[in-house]
Protein backbone atom coordinates (compact mmCIF):
# COMPACT_ATOMS: atom_id res chain seq x y z
CA UNK A 1 0.00 0.00 0.00
CA UNK A 2 1.37 3.39 -0.94
CA UNK A 3 1.23 5.66 2.04
CA UNK A 4 0.05 9.23 1.95
CA UNK A 5 2.73 11.45 3.54
CA UNK A 6 1.19 14.80 2.64
CA UNK A 7 1.16 16.27 6.16
CA UNK A 8 4.75 15.28 6.92
CA UNK A 9 6.05 16.50 3.56
CA UNK A 10 4.27 19.86 3.70
CA UNK A 11 5.51 20.51 7.24
CA UNK A 12 9.03 19.49 6.25
CA UNK A 13 9.03 22.04 3.42
CA UNK A 14 8.34 24.82 5.94
CA UNK A 15 10.37 23.58 8.90
CA UNK A 16 13.57 22.82 6.94
CA UNK A 17 13.98 26.52 6.12
CA UNK A 18 13.58 27.47 9.80
CA UNK A 19 16.20 24.91 10.83
CA UNK A 20 18.69 25.96 8.14
CA UNK A 21 18.28 29.66 9.00
CA UNK A 22 18.82 28.83 12.67
CA UNK A 23 21.92 26.82 11.73
CA UNK A 24 23.35 29.79 9.80
CA UNK A 25 22.56 32.02 12.78
CA UNK A 26 24.38 29.60 15.11
CA UNK A 27 27.36 29.54 12.75
CA UNK A 28 27.78 33.32 12.58
CA UNK A 29 26.90 33.92 16.25
CA UNK A 30 29.65 31.56 17.41
CA UNK A 31 32.27 34.28 17.94
CA UNK A 32 30.43 36.19 20.67
CA UNK A 33 27.62 33.91 21.87
CA UNK A 34 27.19 30.10 22.15
CA UNK A 35 27.26 28.41 18.76
CA UNK A 36 29.91 27.91 16.12
CA UNK A 37 30.90 25.62 13.29
CA UNK A 38 30.25 22.31 15.05
CA UNK A 39 26.71 23.03 16.28
CA UNK A 40 25.84 24.85 13.06
CA UNK A 41 27.01 21.88 11.00
CA UNK A 42 25.07 19.41 13.13
CA UNK A 43 21.91 21.53 12.87
CA UNK A 44 22.27 21.78 9.09
CA UNK A 45 22.67 18.04 8.78
CA UNK A 46 19.61 17.64 11.05
CA UNK A 47 17.62 19.64 8.49
CA UNK A 48 18.96 17.43 5.69
CA UNK A 49 18.08 14.30 7.71
CA UNK A 50 14.54 15.64 8.12
CA UNK A 51 14.36 15.97 4.32
CA UNK A 52 15.62 12.39 4.04
CA UNK A 53 12.89 11.21 6.45
CA UNK A 54 10.08 12.93 4.57
CA UNK A 55 11.23 12.20 1.02
CA UNK A 56 13.25 9.30 -0.36
CA UNK A 57 17.02 9.34 -0.80
CA UNK A 58 16.95 9.78 -4.59
CA UNK A 59 14.79 12.92 -4.45
CA UNK A 60 17.00 14.53 -1.82
CA UNK A 61 20.22 13.80 -3.72
CA UNK A 62 18.56 15.27 -6.83
CA UNK A 63 17.49 18.45 -5.00
CA UNK A 64 20.79 18.89 -3.12
CA UNK A 65 23.38 17.43 -5.49
CA UNK A 66 26.41 17.39 -3.19
CA UNK A 67 28.93 14.62 -2.86
CA UNK A 68 29.33 14.82 0.92
CA UNK A 69 32.76 13.18 0.91
CA UNK A 70 33.98 16.07 -1.25
CA UNK A 71 32.26 18.53 1.12
CA UNK A 72 34.21 17.10 4.07
CA UNK A 73 37.45 17.15 2.07
CA UNK A 74 36.99 20.78 0.99
CA UNK A 75 36.29 21.72 4.62
CA UNK A 76 39.59 20.16 5.72
CA UNK A 77 41.38 21.90 2.85
CA UNK A 78 39.86 25.25 3.85
CA UNK A 79 40.96 24.81 7.48
CA UNK A 80 44.54 23.95 6.44
CA UNK A 81 44.74 26.83 3.94
CA UNK A 82 43.55 29.29 6.62
CA UNK A 83 46.35 28.02 8.86
CA UNK A 84 48.94 28.24 6.07
CA UNK A 85 47.80 31.77 5.20
CA UNK A 86 49.51 33.05 8.33
CA UNK A 87 52.91 32.16 6.80
CA UNK A 88 52.46 34.95 4.22
CA UNK A 89 52.58 37.51 7.04
CA UNK A 90 55.60 35.84 8.73
CA UNK A 91 53.65 34.72 11.83
CA UNK A 92 53.30 31.20 13.34
CA UNK A 93 50.93 28.57 11.92
CA UNK A 94 47.19 29.17 12.63
CA UNK A 95 47.69 32.76 13.84
CA UNK A 96 44.42 34.58 13.33
CA UNK A 97 43.59 38.26 13.09
CA UNK A 98 40.56 40.52 12.92
CA UNK A 99 39.69 44.00 11.84
CA UNK A 100 36.72 46.37 11.73
CA UNK A 101 34.93 47.18 8.51
CA UNK A 102 32.02 49.42 7.62
CA UNK A 103 29.66 47.15 5.73
CA UNK A 104 26.53 48.35 3.98
CA UNK A 105 23.33 47.54 5.98
CA UNK A 106 25.26 45.97 8.88
CA UNK A 107 27.36 49.01 9.87
CA UNK A 108 30.57 48.57 11.82
CA UNK A 109 31.34 44.86 11.92
CA UNK A 110 34.42 42.98 13.05
CA UNK A 111 35.47 40.41 10.49
CA UNK A 112 37.81 37.72 11.83
CA UNK A 113 39.74 35.12 9.86
CA UNK A 114 38.63 32.54 12.45
CA UNK A 115 35.30 32.47 10.57
CA UNK A 116 37.06 30.85 7.60
CA UNK A 117 38.49 28.16 9.89
CA UNK A 118 35.02 27.71 11.40
CA UNK A 119 33.58 27.35 7.89
CA UNK A 120 36.02 24.47 7.41
CA UNK A 121 34.80 22.83 10.63
CA UNK A 122 31.19 23.39 9.48
CA UNK A 123 31.78 21.72 6.10
CA UNK A 124 33.61 18.77 7.69
CA UNK A 125 30.81 18.19 10.22
CA UNK A 126 28.07 18.38 7.55
CA UNK A 127 30.06 16.13 5.20
CA UNK A 128 30.91 13.47 7.77
CA UNK A 129 27.41 13.32 9.30
CA UNK A 130 25.65 13.10 5.93
CA UNK A 131 28.15 10.51 4.66
CA UNK A 132 27.49 8.32 7.71
CA UNK A 133 23.71 8.63 7.42
CA UNK A 134 23.56 8.10 3.65
CA UNK A 135 25.88 5.08 3.86
CA UNK A 136 23.72 3.48 6.55
CA UNK A 137 20.51 4.39 4.68
CA UNK A 138 21.61 2.94 1.35
CA UNK A 139 22.85 -0.44 2.61
CA UNK A 140 20.17 -3.14 2.54
Amino acid sequence: MKKNDLILQTTTKVVTFIIIIFAIHLFFAGHYTPGGGFVGGLTTSAALVLLLLAFDIKTVSKVIPFDYKKVAASGLLLAIVTGLGSFIFKVPFLTHTYSYFNLPLLGKTSLATVVLFDLGVYLVVVGVTMTIIQTIGESE
Partner: protein, 120 residues
Protein backbone atom coordinates in the same frame (compact mmCIF):
# COMPACT_ATOMS: atom_id res chain seq x y z
CA UNK B 1 10.05 45.37 36.71
CA UNK B 2 6.68 46.46 38.10
CA UNK B 3 4.05 44.40 39.87
CA UNK B 4 1.69 43.96 36.90
CA UNK B 5 4.35 42.49 34.61
CA UNK B 6 5.58 40.29 37.48
CA UNK B 7 2.07 38.90 37.93
CA UNK B 8 1.59 38.37 34.17
CA UNK B 9 4.91 36.57 33.71
CA UNK B 10 4.38 34.49 36.86
CA UNK B 11 0.86 33.54 35.79
CA UNK B 12 2.06 32.52 32.31
CA UNK B 13 4.82 30.27 33.66
CA UNK B 14 2.48 28.79 36.31
CA UNK B 15 -0.26 28.03 33.75
CA UNK B 16 2.36 26.45 31.50
CA UNK B 17 3.69 24.18 34.22
CA UNK B 18 0.14 23.28 35.34
CA UNK B 19 -0.72 22.26 31.77
CA UNK B 20 2.40 20.10 31.68
CA UNK B 21 1.30 18.41 34.92
CA UNK B 22 -2.13 17.83 33.34
CA UNK B 23 -0.32 16.16 30.42
CA UNK B 24 1.48 13.83 32.81
CA UNK B 25 -1.77 12.87 34.54
CA UNK B 26 -3.36 12.26 31.14
CA UNK B 27 -0.47 10.02 30.09
CA UNK B 28 -0.91 7.89 33.20
CA UNK B 29 -4.71 7.82 33.39
CA UNK B 30 -5.95 7.53 29.79
CA UNK B 31 -6.70 4.02 28.48
CA UNK B 32 -5.03 3.61 25.05
CA UNK B 33 -2.32 5.01 22.79
CA UNK B 34 -4.56 7.38 20.84
CA UNK B 35 -6.09 9.15 23.82
CA UNK B 36 -2.63 9.40 25.36
CA UNK B 37 -1.23 10.94 22.20
CA UNK B 38 -4.18 13.35 22.29
CA UNK B 39 -3.16 14.41 25.82
CA UNK B 40 0.54 14.57 25.04
CA UNK B 41 0.39 16.52 21.80
CA UNK B 42 -2.22 19.13 22.79
CA UNK B 43 -1.67 20.15 26.38
CA UNK B 44 2.11 19.65 26.38
CA UNK B 45 2.39 21.95 23.35
CA UNK B 46 0.31 24.63 25.01
CA UNK B 47 2.25 24.22 28.29
CA UNK B 48 5.60 24.68 26.58
CA UNK B 49 4.22 27.64 24.60
CA UNK B 50 2.99 29.35 27.78
CA UNK B 51 6.38 28.89 29.48
CA UNK B 52 8.23 30.20 26.41
CA UNK B 53 5.95 33.25 26.13
CA UNK B 54 6.49 33.95 29.84
CA UNK B 55 10.25 33.69 29.32
CA UNK B 56 10.10 36.00 26.27
CA UNK B 57 8.09 38.60 28.22
CA UNK B 58 10.41 38.35 31.23
CA UNK B 59 13.56 39.13 29.25
CA UNK B 60 11.72 41.78 27.22
CA UNK B 61 10.59 43.66 30.35
CA UNK B 62 13.64 42.98 32.50
CA UNK B 63 16.47 43.67 30.02
CA UNK B 64 14.63 45.17 27.02
CA UNK B 65 15.94 42.36 24.85
CA UNK B 66 13.50 40.64 22.46
CA UNK B 67 14.92 37.19 21.90
CA UNK B 68 14.37 36.18 18.27
CA UNK B 69 15.33 32.62 19.17
CA UNK B 70 12.40 32.38 21.62
CA UNK B 71 9.94 33.65 19.00
CA UNK B 72 11.37 31.14 16.54
CA UNK B 73 11.10 28.38 19.17
CA UNK B 74 7.44 29.28 19.83
CA UNK B 75 6.62 29.09 16.10
CA UNK B 76 8.66 25.90 15.70
CA UNK B 77 7.06 24.04 18.63
CA UNK B 78 3.63 25.21 17.50
CA UNK B 79 4.21 23.77 14.01
CA UNK B 80 6.03 20.54 14.81
CA UNK B 81 4.51 19.16 18.02
CA UNK B 82 1.01 18.37 16.61
CA UNK B 83 2.68 16.79 13.55
CA UNK B 84 4.68 14.54 15.86
CA UNK B 85 1.45 13.52 17.60
CA UNK B 86 -0.20 12.84 14.24
CA UNK B 87 2.70 10.69 13.02
CA UNK B 88 2.84 8.72 16.28
CA UNK B 89 -0.90 8.02 16.18
CA UNK B 90 -0.75 7.00 12.52
CA UNK B 91 2.23 4.70 13.06
CA UNK B 92 0.40 3.10 16.01
CA UNK B 93 -2.80 2.62 13.96
CA UNK B 94 -1.09 1.05 10.96
CA UNK B 95 1.02 -1.28 13.12
CA UNK B 96 -2.19 -2.60 14.65
CA UNK B 97 -2.25 -1.14 18.16
CA UNK B 98 -5.76 -1.93 19.48
CA UNK B 99 -8.18 0.82 20.43
CA UNK B 100 -9.64 1.08 23.91
CA UNK B 101 -12.68 -1.08 24.81
CA UNK B 102 -14.84 2.02 25.19
CA UNK B 103 -14.38 3.07 21.55
CA UNK B 104 -17.73 3.40 19.75
CA UNK B 105 -16.72 4.31 16.21
CA UNK B 106 -13.67 3.83 13.97
CA UNK B 107 -14.15 5.85 10.79
CA UNK B 108 -10.79 4.95 9.27
CA UNK B 109 -11.55 1.23 9.51
CA UNK B 110 -15.00 1.49 7.91
CA UNK B 111 -13.54 3.67 5.16
CA UNK B 112 -10.81 1.15 4.40
CA UNK B 113 -13.35 -1.68 4.32
CA UNK B 114 -15.52 0.30 1.93
CA UNK B 115 -12.52 0.85 -0.32
CA UNK B 116 -11.71 -2.89 -0.28
CA UNK B 117 -15.27 -3.93 -1.18
CA UNK B 118 -15.39 -1.24 -3.86
CA UNK B 119 -12.31 -2.75 -5.53
CA UNK B 120 -13.86 -6.21 -5.63
Amino acid sequence: MNVISEIIVGALVLIGSLLTVVTMIGLIRLPDTYTRSHAASKSATLGVLFILVGCLLYFWIETGHISARLILAIVFVFITSPIAGHLLGRAAYYSGVPLSDKTVRDDLKTKQQKKLTHHE
